[in-house]
Symmetry: none
Subunit: 417 residues, 2 copies
């Protein structure tokens, strides 16, 4: 079963809001075996609504529409659907009563504009919206399904969860779609693809592979569909097992894992405490860690040592090291990692020092040069990175690389024990 999602509203097209409804709907539809063919955003223009819905009914089995059901004059979705489907607006008693109650609860009089929201195309089935004044509408059009819902995200989600998804689930009987996402770090996309060339070539025909890069990591997504969910999951797991043998160190997690959540789990499961000393990353590592709820179980805190004086006074870095090797050096970053570990009394220390840019580079240390160190009770490891010239990316890449080094160090020390 194929669906088209149509989101209606001028505010989407002028970039005033980001359409997040579609992504949520796509994700939920997938889970009940419905594939989204396309997502179309259009303004509240009568002709465009009618032609887009008409075309979508031809292309797809299901058309899900959000937006344009508000009480003000610019909202015209109901009228457009009436004209397109040859229906007319009639007052729906239970909806009018529901609207009346909402206004009574707020101690407000019922306005004419709002009571008009109880006028519904006569040929549709009303889907009750407990969270707002505009109900959902379910149309059966030439054995295709058309559903119109309000654009307010939580109202749309309520109607989808209570009415639309359960019904579609019942239609799509038998067929399951399974997606598994593997999170990788440390190999650029082309290297990853080359390394996985044979693995991909031997992939069973029914499993689809996609590489989804973002500025810091690459997700590999395996997708398949069929009648037995268990069987598909088993087949996909077999491919993940093969992948784990090919790039064991590069796979850091699955689905919505982040590097910070994976490192957090490693620390808490091994009763380990972390402290950080950040220069070029300027608090971003701490920010990523403390974004995780419960991070106080494994994170003591840290020092943002942006100036050299702070490296010396708060972390105990020998000022001669800075004079001799410069702040962006293996010597200084290792001393920072060990310093923060000692000062704060943690099991592990992370430190960064580099040139985030866009200025401050030298021929020997161009913008994007970053030293990262990770220290443990067993010693300290460090690495020099060369990122590009984009400040934001440098900070993020340095931060995630540092967390990844910590991840690998904890794993290797666990192995040795």
């Amino acid at each position: 079963m194929y669906a088209t999602i149509i989101t209606i509203g001028e505010e989407i097209l002028i970039g005033q809001i980001v359409d997040t409804n579609s992504a949520w709907m796509g994700y939920e539809l997938n889970k009940v075996g419905v594939k989204v063919r396309q997502i179309i955003s259009i303004p509240d223009i009568d002709e465009q609504i009618k032609s887009t819905v008409n075309q979508s009914v031809n292309d797809s089995d299901i058309v899900l529409i959000t937006g344009g059901l508000g009480p003000t004059n610019d909202d015209i979705t109901k009228q457009a659907l009436c004209q397109l489907f040859g229906s007319e607006l009639v007052v729906h008693g239970p909806t009018l009563e529901h609207i009346r109650q909402i206004f009574a609860k707020r101690g407000l009089p019922l306005t004419e504009l709002n009571s008009k929201q109880a006028e519904i195309p006569s040929i549709c089935e009303v889907l009750h919206n407990p969270l707002g004044t505009a109900p959902g509408m379910w149309f059966d059009i030439n054995s295709k399904i058309v559903v119109s819902m309000p654009g307010v995200p939580f109202e749309m989600k309520g109607i989808m969860q209570q009415h639309v998804l359960p019904r579609l689930d019942a239609f799509a009987d038998g067929v399951s779609i399974v997606h598994k996402t593997i999170q990788t770090f440390g190999l650029p996309e082309s290297f990853l693809a080359e390394r996985l060339n044979d693995w991909e070539a031997n992939m069973p025909r029914n499993i689809n592979v996609a590489y989804l890069p973002n500025p810091i990591s690459i997700r590999i997504r395996l997708s398949s569909s069929g009648n037995s969910k268990e069987l598909i999951e088993l087949e996909i797991q077999k491919q993940i097992d093969a992948l784990l043998k090919l790039i064991p160190n590069n796979i850091f997690g699955y689905e919505n894992d982040t590097m910070a959540s994976v490192v957090g789990d490693l620390l808490v499961n091994n009763s380990l405490m972390l402290a950080v000393a950040e220069s070029c990353t300027g608090g971003t590592i701490a920010h990523l860690i403390t974004h995780q709820s419960g991070s106080s179980r494994y994170f003591l805190g840290g020092v943002v040592a942006y100036s050299n004086d702070v490296k010396v006074s708060a972390l105990g870095v020998d000022s001669h090291l800075i004079e001799t090797y410069g702040a962006v050096s293996q010597q200084v970053v290792e001393s920072m990692a060990q310093g923060v570990m000692l000062k704060l009394g943690s099991d592990y220390g992370i430190a960064t020092s580099g040139i985030a840019g866009p200025t401050g580079g030298t021929p020997g240390k161009p913008v994007g040069t970053v030293w990262v160190a990770v220290s443990s009770k067993q010693g300290v490891v460090s690495e020099r990175f060369s990122f590009g010239s984009d400040r934001e990316r440098n900070i993020l890449r340095s931060s995630v690389s540092a967390l990844n080094m910590l991840r690998l160090l904890i794993l290797s020390e666990k192995k040795i024990q």
Copy 2:
């Protein structure tokens, strides 16, 4: 001039990512007088790419495409466009050289997959992409414009800003659209709207007002269009001047200003240095500050004092204060702000301590309770906030509120001098 935006990628349709490119593009296109007719998201399927692009070229003057230009096999946008426009892929020398340099800089060999990214449809004009390996492509098709760009947001934005928007701006001669955005903080939307009721009622007919709330601030956008850009800008400025009289303390900036950039400018223009002591914000304030290029001119660094021990050892907070009043208290947060100012030798100190959630609340101090202090040579001010139960929003709101308190303190101390 009407545009259609097409975003390509299975990940959008299955809800793995939210398409934020379109909103950004819609906003920027508007500024150069181009109206977006529709936004369409489709998967990497050859037939669908060709039919959607073909239809869009018929519907619109400009078709902007993002996505599907990666080095892996699932990316097929270039091939589809070649077939649709009757062109063929040829190696583009400067792009190949650019890719070679990117890999050389990272100390990596050039792979065959990546060198294929230099193969470009022969009939297009190449738009250099300094931030990545896939260039943009500009096609003139039957006096319509088709532009294909990578889907990675910052690469797309770079190509749009450097090449596409300036050219489109030159086409839209005569009519100017002017948008001015005023950044406000500290008043909820309904309060702001009520306060500005008369101002809005007296607005000239040709100026449009929009309120754009996000989780932490509310932007007010004034828009107008006409033949004289100067005249429109003058009219809009008159309205901004009136607004400044109504809510002087709530307006912190304009256009793309952030609270951190505004505070950074204030500090650097007055030769002041800042240090931060963060508990519940866990490094986010430092992260927001150091996100600004050049922040080392006014930011010394700080301490992420996540555990109470660190508050005592690194910031010099009296442990009796913590025992008596608790870590989330006026006494402790003021001591933290003054402690970090003294220890790091800055002109101003910021401190936060609170319960970010979702757990850790008590009846007296529920989740969302946050104390913020700002200290200067003249003394210390503090405030207790009650944010909601959402961890991410609490951290961000606390951080921006702290920066706003610093902004107001510097402004008031400047006034007194």
